[in-house]
Amino acid sequence: MDERHDPLSEADERVVAMAEAEIRRALLVEPSLEFQAKVRARITAQPRRTFGSHPWFALAAAASMVVALAALMMFELRPGTPTAPIVATAPRPSPAEPPHAPQVIAATQPPEVAPPLPAGRPQPVRHRDGAVAALHDGVTPEVLIDPAQAAAVRRLFAMTQRGIKLPEGAGKEIVVAGELLVSPLVVEPLQVPAITAEQGPGSDKKSFQLPASSFQLPAES
């Protein structure tokens, strides 16, 4: 049997009974007469909880926002959703500006490579939508960009066409891809002057010649 659960001895029972009587006597206390009034005053002083102040309300609001965002993203990324690739053409440099490399904004899709068809069979005619055809057949460099970015670019074009002026300093943050191009690093060949023994004061060619005897091995005995 567990020693902890041994019954109390008679003497221990007496001590415990005495202790419990003392605890009961000590806890027969009453609060002051103003106790309840103080509680009510404290309740009145504290701000009442409104519906919006509940912690779960903030949590629920945050959770619903996350769900809404997730649903929106799923809708945008759904495979069946027709999201035509948007082709943006880099602006041609004006004659006044110095020519630089074509500006690549972002490439989101690699170009399609059709598998080679067997020779001799008529090739099926494949209709491609205009954007993809323009991508493959265009002469100027073209790239695919993210739909959100494309929408922003479209808005910007519309604003400029309508003649709306951008606020001052708004264009300062726009990084033009051409500005990011690093000019080619030209490494000029190092020209090291040939070193000759004749250079320097008091040099003599003969001083570099070793005597022929120094290359001879000692004869075997």
Partner: protein, 183 residues
């Protein structure tokens, strides 16, 4: 429209009044219990009242979930106990309030021997593990039986029985010398 808004506002006021009345009833029922629970830990009237008031004010904030009488009492007792233990630990850290054991009028009227015995007893209770301590104190308040203590602590009756037994045994071991001196 205005009539409808007026009746709606009147209904709100009535509901708020009903909650207030309901809470006042709970306050009358359980206010003293909360104070005694706090006093059982702190043994300082002012601190115990402060802690009990704090617990009751918190109970008012959660009153919509605690309308059931039993749940209210159990929640109040557990919250008061936790707040009182926090206050007791803070007091001990700050001042080491040993002398406050004799703070109230009932104990100051006792003989020096009785006061010393009482001090030893409370020190022994303070040294008990918290689960045993709360069972012993709650069983001593208002003549709570095991079923009532189990409801207040939200634990099975067997657990309360076991904790009471272990608590009494630990107390007996700590206070055995008293039996020798009083014999």
């Amino acid at each position: 429209m205005n009539e409808w808004a007026g009746s709606y506002a009147g209904a709100l006021v009535t509901a708020s009044d009903a909650i207030d009345q309901d809470f006042n009833q709970r306050l009358r029922d359980s206010g003293t219990l909360a104070f005694r629970v706090a006093y059982g830990v702190l043994r300082h009237r002012q601190d115990a009242e402060d802690v009990a008031q704090d617990a009751l004010a918190r109970a008012f904030q959660h009153f919509s979930r605690l309308r059931d009488r039993d749940r209210f009492r159990a929640w109040l007792v557990r919250t008061t106990w936790r707040l009182a233990i926090d206050r007791w630990r803070a007091n001990r850290r700050r001042t080491g309030r040993e002398q406050d054991i004799f703070e109230d009028a009932a104990t100051t009227e006792q003989s020096p021997e009785a006061r010393e015995r009482s001090a030893h007893l409370w020190r022994a209770i303070d040294e008990l593990p918290e689960k045993l301590r709360v069972a012993i104190v709650l069983a001593a308040i208002e003549g709570h039986d095991i079923r009532e203590v189990s409801r207040l602590l939200d634990v099975p009756e067997g657990t309360v029985k076991s904790r009471l037994f272990l608590g009494r045994k630990a107390l007996a071991e700590k206070l055995r010398w008293m039996n020798d001196t009083t014999r």
